[in-house]
Symmetry: C2
Subunit: 407 residues, 2 copies
């Protein structure tokens, strides 16, 4: 029941980046649950990872390999098992998977980044993964993005991908990415995974900064239920095969075009995760303007987005503005003057100077709330900062998925 | 469907404190929805109030009256309408209610504290309340606690009260209190209200400190859904009619006994609110030991208590420990060494040194989770501090109550 989300129609291949899919039988026999991605020689790879202190073994290992090795060649991703909360055994399992792929490709195991998503606390079935590696390697193709997007799904209902091409000088540059969903899925614990590749050539520090900027405006601005996963990872690859000069600095026309393309792909992938949030029936944008700092805009936005009362009202299409102002009120802003706060549902002003707007009618509010895509705009009127985040409602289906499913 | 909560069997009267109940017809005809409480001459009154920036008009006015007047004589409480988000008109309405009661009792309006609970953003029906004031005044009795506990209910399923007597020297001292529920009730917005009275004689600064200490260990340690109401108020009255000396300092045997009694009543009232939380099927204690600071213990406890994934697992009686460790992991403790963390469900150790305990079996976890009252104990093993909070699960009924009900 994803909100306004369809199977991606076009995912352009990226020169120098191949994807291969296989069935390892981790949870279900025959399910495509293993994805290997290959970066050509000379590619630059950067990543950002969960800040959860209980981060999973593959996260620890990927961070270590990225820090120690500038020559990353393969990513290996399994679904069905998060390899989190598994301690030393889990770390050994992740190393064993990397070693198996290294043996099959004649590389050092530090050239490989492992990723896992699925149930927490259960041992990773390393042998099943090892057996399926050759199948995935044989399947490596540049045109396999959609199959890979399906291969990394857990309880996602729809594969998620985004792709952009732009022209620079006489060359075409491609940015393509896939992601999987964040409802803390699976049902034990979810994982947000994102992989984006471009054939542009970008120096590593510039690429790292680009990824951090892009995730801060996209993946780090979405919330389904406020639960930060143990496995969240987002990877950006620049293969350098577009036959254009290396981008060494965060400036210039070419950089700006690439940045726009990467931001746009990251945004589409992040929003796709929200649209496919567990039990989601609404896609909700929370926009906070006029804060003194970006952080206080985020504090207000997340207070509203995480309020179970606001989320159930959204599910019920109930323009229950009292819950929105209450959430703003407890978001802990210093010396908030509530008599300056305005709130809009779509284009309808519901609160003016801290009180119900005189012009507001319940019918206007209901009409907005009936829509599948809703914007809540909050004007704090105390500064110049602005932040936007995206979230979902809280439905019966969310409780059902998370209470009743169990592997 | 309150968890382990019955109608209070004994609520001892407090000398010098009377309660009267009436029907004002605010939401339903015939419903007892107006409660007046009277403090005898010489009583000392202190209060603590919500920190929500959008606090309601009666909260603003009660704080003002308490600050300006040491001679508080009456509390007037209506259900069915929170008089919040109502701006200047709402403040005028609260003043008008105080003035009407002042006129009827020949007092200054600043001798009166107003309280409201119910729907946000609708005008308070002042005339209905005015008309019902004589009925409530005629009903004033020391033995009316249970009727008053029923009179302040909104979507509470059970009236909440607690009462303790202790002996000091040759005299009996009574502490009795009532409260109403906090599920952000009503369905627009809830209110936690608590009223506690004793016939001990206590100097105002000592009484204020006692109330703040007591609420910090009780009402400020409960959470249903993390939504802090606009109307939360807790009042403590010392009538001084127990015929014992005035307590002027926070020390001594008599003070200690009174403190224990007040803490115990506040705790029972606070826990009653959780037991009757909207849709609650479980009463959950979250205990965090071994933190460096009290605040970090609270951060971990609230991360676990507010996690929708932990709450749905509790509803499902699913010992889904991965969700608990993930919540600990994202609670933002500086430099948390997860390899020192232990987690217990009841007496069953589920996590040892950051991994699933070797001794743990799913059957043991399931047995604990089937119970209606569950303790999650987290040992951080990095300091000496400890905090305990109480919460509920997240059930279908919670979504139903908050999505589908609407006045």
């Amino acid at each position: 029941m994803a909100v306004g989300l369809e199977i991606p129609s076009v995912l352009y291949p990226v020169k120098g980046f191949k994807l291969g899919i296989a069935s390892a039988g981790i949870k279900k026999v025959g399910r495509k649950d293993l994805v290997i991605m290959q970066c050509a020689e000379g590619a630059t790879v950067v990543g950002v990872f969960t800040r959860n202190a209980f981060c999973a073994a593959p996260v620890l290992l990927s961070k270590e390999h990225l820090a120690r090795n500038t020559n990353i060649h393969y990513f290996i991703t399994n679904t069905g098992n998060a390899n989190a909360g598994t301690g030393k055994q889990g770390l050994k399992a992740a190393i064993d998977v990397c070693q198996a792929l290294a043996d099959a490709t004649n590389l050092d195991k530090e050239a490989i980044l492992p990723f896992s998503t699925g149930v927490i606390g259960e041992p990773l079935p390393v042998e099943k993964i090892k057996v399926a590696i050759p199948e995935a390697l044989n399947d490596l193709k540049e045109d396999n993005w959609l199959k890979a997007a399906e291969g990394i799904m857990t309880t996602d209902t729809t594969p998620k991908g985004a792709s952009i091409r732009f022209q620079h000088e006489d060359k075409v540059v491609t940015v393509t990415g896939i992601s999987k969903g964040a409802g803390m899925i699976c049902p034990n614990m979810g994982t947000m995974l994102g992989y984006i590749a471009t054939d542009a050539d970008v120096a590593k520090p510039v690429l790292q900064a680009l990824l951090e900027d892009a995730t801060n405006k996209s993946f780090n601005r979405i919330t389904i239920d406020g639960d930060t996963s143990t496995n969240d990872s987002c990877i950006l690859v620049a293969t350098g095969q577009a036959d254009l000069p290396t981008i060494n600095q965060a400036q210039g026309e070419y950089y700006d075009k690439l940045k726009m393309a990467i931001f746009s792909v990251a945004m589409e992938l992040a929003q796709a995760i929200v649209r496919d949030g567990e039990g989601a029936t609404k896609f909700v944008t929370v926009e906070v303007n006029g804060g003194k700092t970006h952080q206080e805009c985020l504090d207000v936005a997340y207070a509203v987005a995480h309020s179970p009362l606001v989320k159930t009202a959204l599910f019920a299409s109930d323009p229950n503005w009292g819950r929105i102002v209450a959430a703003i009120g407890y978001s802990k802003l210093e010396q908030l003057d509530v008599s300056k706060v305005d709130v809009f549902l779509g284009s309808v002003q519901i609160v003016s100077e801290g009180e119900r707007a005189i012009s507001y009618t319940e019918e206007q509010g209901s009409a907005v709330m009936q829509q599948a895509e809703i914007t809540i705009r909050i004007e704090l009127n105390r500064g110049q900062c602005r932040e936007v985040i995206w979230t979902t409602d809280l439905s019966h289906e969310y409780v059902k998925i998370n209470a009743e499913y169990r592997t």
